[in-house]
């Protein structure tokens, strides 16, 4: 079937939304499925070749247990290309919020007996292995997913969106909620792809696509402070999507 390009899809600690987004692909779903061979995807089909080899491995979710890290390294060895998809895999996403708390405290709030729990701090995929690009978003955007699949078919380096949400917001000609309403909008430091969904619908961006490369988090945090936002509030804004990454770390000053 298809071009014979072998794809493996792996899910780690996440909501499985990225895989659903692949199926939410709607107009493209048939084309995609027929253009490639999905040789491993537990949610889509039973069986499958867990050990590859893969032309492309897509990794969903943050890494929170040792077996995931071990398997991830094996997948890396057996894959020509490997890309994290979605915020959890790209920058830690929501699961990494627990890194802001004491690990055992977070565990004890959920389980009486934590001896059966073997959870590590939540890290993105590139914490453990080399990656060949990032499909950002929570959920990932159709544009970048299509670019990924087509690039694979064309043997081309994919060009993912790498600018800020502000670009999309300006094209929408949405009123800037930061400038006009003094709302703490994360748009200027957040990677684009959502189409400026929040600001164009009357609320501040909360950063679900994770950091834009070369974001100036410190300058935005200072701006929030000048607006009268408390240190704790600023800290929360910069930790909702992403464990400390180089880009957002300067905004993650613990109160």
């Amino acid at each position: 079937m298809g071009t014979g390009k072998r794809i493996g899809i792996f899910k780690y600690s996440s909501c499985a939304g990225c895989q659903f987004q692949l199926f939410y692909f709607q107009h493209y779903v048939l084309e995609t499925i027929q253009a490639v061979d999905i040789v491993y995807c537990k949610m889509l089909q039973s069986g499958g070749e867990e050990d590859g080899p893969f032309d492309l491995a897509l990794i969903e979710g943050a890494i929170t247990e040792q077996w995931q890290a071990d398997q991830l390294k094996r997948i890396r060895e057996r894959s020509e290309l490997l890309a994290p998809i979605g915020s959890c895999a790209v920058c830690g996403g929501v699961p990494a919020i627990k890194n802001t708390a004491h690990e055992l405290d977070a565990q004890r709030r959920v389980y009486e007996d934590i001896s059966v729990v073997h959870s590590l701090k939540a890290h993105p995929v590139d914490h453990y292995v080399r990656v060949d690009g990032y499909v950002r978003g929570c959920p990932p955007g159709v544009r970048d997913l299509a670019e990924l699949v087509k690039s694979l078919l064309l043997n081309k380096t994919p060009r993912f969106l790498d600018y800020s949400v502000c670009v999309e917001c300006k094209l929408e000609e949405a009123i800037c909620v930061l400038v006009a309403y003094q709302e703490p909008c994360m748009g200027p430091v957040t990677n684009a792809g959502c189409g400026a969904l929040c600001p164009s619908r009357g609320r501040a961006c909360y950063g679900c696509w994770g950091p834009m490369k070369d974001a100036n988090a410190k300058a935005l945090a200072d701006r929030f402070e000048r607006m009268g936002l408390g240190r704790e509030e600023i800290y929360r804004r910069f930790t909702e999507f992403g464990e400390p990454t180089v880009e957002w770390k300067p905004g993650q000053v613990k109160p």
Partner: protein
């Protein structure tokens, strides 16, 4: 003196509705939640003329954010040009003088030695009606840049309007403009008193500016101070790299070209879209990036608008509309950066040395 006409406000609305039968009439419209946006109007009453500045200028109709260029057959590489979406003889109403100036600045790029096919077509099919500004807007300094508050251009536009309370003075800028005003039923020829009123309004408008920039000698000064600390300090403390400044700038012309191939790999659509020198990837080449620092990118913006543009096109790349500072999340103001270098020069702290 060109022939001018007087149209009462009611007659103006009637005229717009007449034009709508023949043209796509575009103008500033007040949107939900407050923004004023240039878009096609359905009725003369939609027009919101009492506005200061829109987020995106009317440039978007002549140089759209995304332009489909070609369809390419992947088998034989045959290329078919995609005609720009037919503007269908559009008339853009209430273009502010700074935005009209900005379009004439864009003309120098796209209609220079080599003409851009798409821009040429849209520019030709789009008529422009300028509305003079009777007062300065908060962030505007068009007066300093020679772009306002009243129209300064000799040509390149079709009509010029001045709001005079109960009526409008409408002056002709082109033959096509003349054709437009001839469709106005209740027009009467302007009298000399009307032009005196206009001059008076212009004087008042000029006097209303609070923001100024001294442009004499500015390009040379900036080029001799490329390493002035204002760039680094601003880039570190305030510039977010969000590119809002270049998105809203009415003279920015940079674009990127992108190919999009169909899933069955048979057809490619080649598109172009606005690009920004403030994006990290802009000056990236294989193995490096010539403006990898935010400082370098910010300097590129300021020195291009206020200095190198003059060498390239004989005019400033800044028309003083104030959009870049209005929509900068941290309020970076390029006039303040320029002023700091000017002040440092006056106090002997900035340089004036040869830069060759």
């Amino acid at each position: 003196m060109s022939t001018g006409y007087i149209l009462a406000n009611d007659a103006f609305r009637d005229w717009l509705n007449i034009l709508r039968n023949e043209f796509t009439v575009i103008g500033p419209v007040l949107k939900k939640r407050g923004p004023i946006v240039f878009e096609e109007i359905q009725d003369a009453g939609d027009l919101h003329l009492d506005y200061c500045s829109t987020m995106l200028g009317p440039r978007k109709f002549i140089y759209p954010p995304t332009q489909r260029l070609f369809r390419i057959d992947n088998q034989n590489h045959r290329v078919t040009t995609i005609e720009p979406a037919d503007a269908g003889n559009a008339v853009i109403f209430a273009v502010r003088p700074c935005d009209m100036q900005a379009i004439s600045v864009l003309d120098r790029t796209f209609l220079g030695d080599i003409e851009d096919f798409y821009y040429r077509k849209l520019r030709e099919e789009t008529l422009t009606v300028v509305l003079n500004c009777n007062r300065a807007c908060d962030a505007g300094f068009c007066e300093s840049m020679g772009a306002g508050p009243f129209l300064r251009l000799e040509d390149g536009y079709d009509l010029e309007m001045t709001s005079m309370g109960e009526n409008y003075l409408i002056e002709i800028g082109s033959r096509r403009g003349e054709g437009l005003i001839e469709k106005a039923v209740h027009r009467k020829e302007a009298a000399s008193g009307d032009y005196e009123t206009k001059d008076d309004l212009q004087r008042k408008a000029i006097a209303s500016f609070t923001k100024h920039l001294e442009t004499a000698g500015l390009p040379e000064l900036l080029m001799r101070n490329l390493d002035h600390p204002v760039y680094r300090e601003t880039a570190e403390a305030r510039c977010l790299g969000c590119t809002n400044c270049t998105m809203v700038c009415p003279t920015c012309y940079c674009y990127d070209i992108e190919d999009d191939m169909s899933f069955d790999l048979t057809v490619t659509e080649r598109r172009r879209h606005w690009d920004s020198c403030q994006e990290l990837h802009f000056a990236r080449v294989h193995g490096g990036n010539f403006r990898s620092s935010r400082e370098a990118r910010l300097r590129q913006f300021v020195t291009h608008k206020l200095a190198t543009w003059v060498e390239q096109y004989g005019c400033f790349g800044c028309v003083g509309c104030g959009r870049c500072m209005t929509w900068c999340p941290t309020g970076i103001d390029l006039t303040e950066m320029a002023k700091r270098i000017q002040q440092d020069f006056e106090t002997g702290r900035a340089r004036w040395w040869a830069y060759s």
